[in-house]
Amino acid sequence: MFAETALNASNRRVQRLFRILFMLMTGLLVLPVLLILTMLVYKGGSVLSIDFLFTAPTHGMTAGGIFPALLGTVWLVGVALLVSVPIGVAAAIYLSEYAADNWFTRVINLAIINLAGVPSIVHALFGVGAFVIFFGFGTSILAASLTLAIMTLPVVIVATRESLQAVPMAFREACWNMGATRWQTIRRVVLPNAISGILTGIILEVSRTTGETAPIMFTGAVFFTPLLPQSIFDQTMALSLHLFVVATQVPGVPDNLPYGVALVLIAMVLLMNSISIAFRVYLRARKKW
């Protein structure tokens, strides 16, 4: 009906050009990283074995496995979660269910953004100044986990707040009309409807906490200790720091050993992220409202 004018044609060409340009940019952003990951798998794969995961390093960390570091990371992440999940969920409930839209709430939100934006090494300094020295925990799992917990708190808060806010207002109103208190409404209606979203956020936090290195370097994780942690007041090895140590600090490490450590670390982090994402996709597909 309408003949294509020269202007239309040129517009279309410009559009196609930009589409391809941006597609290339996306590709250039993603491809190198995929290549690098493939290389990690290729080089680190030869080291991986059940023994590697479940034995201690030997010969001055130039041989053996990573078990103490793996176990240490589990301790650090576990204790950090015990602290950050209750505080984070409480903060999110406050922000989503109670807080008014005023300057005070804005200050809280700004604090959350800043908590996420403060460099990890500054969190480490805080951990040293506050937990190691002032509260006298020494370099211990407790001090390191508290530092990690505060650093990753925004992850829990943001994810939980989002899933709470996704629960339709009508659900709450229906409940209030039955004479329920705010807390009864939150406990019986809001939280059950948001729980899976909260879990997704927690898994994401586990992944973040697992990979952090700088905040634990001076607060509780050590280069090497022959002892496995027995309590939260012990020092421990950690997987992320172990990668740093075998890659830079120990002479005579065989070439592929650090690749193996890197592979385990990245596999743990990406696995948990994938679970979290899959969970979210599943939830969105199942959503009833």
Partner: protein, 305 residues
């Protein structure tokens, strides 16, 4: 009914009411925890660093001297100019890489890609953003280092170029997803109105979506800068860690964050050197605070407008 109600019938202060108040108090404590922690961070790092600021620090020397020799026993020097130059050069190069690419990727994912492609790219970007910084540092050390030596025929591959690329690849996914959120925040009716006028997809993006998302995109860039600035492990491992004001991208440098990470373990608590490292921490805290604050103000500007 309703005629002989006494005051106590309306008195709702039963167990549930008290429970409600208790919970309200508890979640309020949770709510203000972020403020408590951010203030706590500032107080505690200041407490450890203040001795140096008050007694030893010469403000002019601290910011303008390129000599960082804290372990010199006779005349220790605390100049962070070279460290600032290191951080700035690496972050600058990283942004040169990551800003165009992440904005391009955000536009492609948000405006051009559809269906499965779009969803997969979003998941991929999210996974890339999750790679821990120590792994990036390791990649700089083991993969980029020999590659740079080979390609450019330079003696050392741990330099501004290496760390800049690593940091660029690291911040790009984060910037991409924030920028994509900013594009998504532009209401669809803007796009529909423009399309109804006969605009092509690119015209819609260029004339309508980008101007409307301008502040959000700027916020994304600022958050990326903040992230690059504060990055520690990757920069520690990929820069070469030499105190040096760089003259080319093949010079090794040392970053502010990396200096703290490398030296804090060796210093005695309370010594000048130890306090000087905390002073760098205070400096980093203030700078990232300003960056985050401006990002927030800029993004908010858009919402009000």
């Amino acid at each position: 009914m309703g005629t002989n109600n006494t005051a106590s019938d309306f008195d709702r202060r039963n167990a549930d009411w008290y429970m409600d108040k208790l919970v309200q108090m508890l979640v309020f404590i949770g709510g203000i925890s972020a403020i408590v922690f951010i203030v706590g961070i500032f107080i505690f790092i200041t407490k450890e660093g203040i001795g140096f600021i008050v007694n030893t620090m010469d403000v002019k020397e601290f910011f303008l001297s390129p000599y960082w020799e804290p372990s010199d026993e006779d005349a220790p020097e605390y100049g962070i100019l070279a460290l600032i130059a290191g951080t700035a050069s690496v972050t600058g190069l990283a942004l040169l890489v990551s800003i165009p690419f992440s904005l391009g990727a955000a536009i492609y994912i948000g405006e051009f890609a559809t269906g499965k492609v779009r969803e997969s790219l979003k998941v991929l970007v999210e996974l890339l953003a999750a790679i821990p910084s120590v792994v990036w540092g390791f990649i700089g050390l083991t993969i980029m280092n020999p590659l740079i030596i080979e390609l450019f025929d330079v003696p050392v591959g741990l330099n501004v170029l290496n760390a800049g690329i690593i940091l660029g690849l690291m911040t790009a996914p984060i910037m991409t997803s924030i920028a994509e959120d900013a594009l998504k925040a532009v209401p669809d009716r803007y796009r529909e109105a423009a399309e109804a006028m006969g605009a092509t997809r690119w015209q819609v993006i260029y004339k309508v979506v980008l101007p409307a998302a301008k502040n959000g995109l700027l916020g994304a860039v600022l958050l990326g800068i903040g992230r690059g600035f504060g990055e520690t492990m990757a920069v520690l491992m990929a820069t070469g860690h030499a105190v040096n004001i760089p003259h080319s991208i093949f010079d090794s440098v040392r970053a502010l964050t990396a200096t703290i990470a490398a030296e804090l373990g060796e210093t005695a608590v309370g010594s000048d050197h130890y306090q000087a490292l905390f002073t760098i921490g205070i400096f980093l805290f203030l700078i990232t605070f300003v960056i985050n604050l401006s990002a927030d103000l800029i993004v908010r500007g858009i919402r009000r407008g």
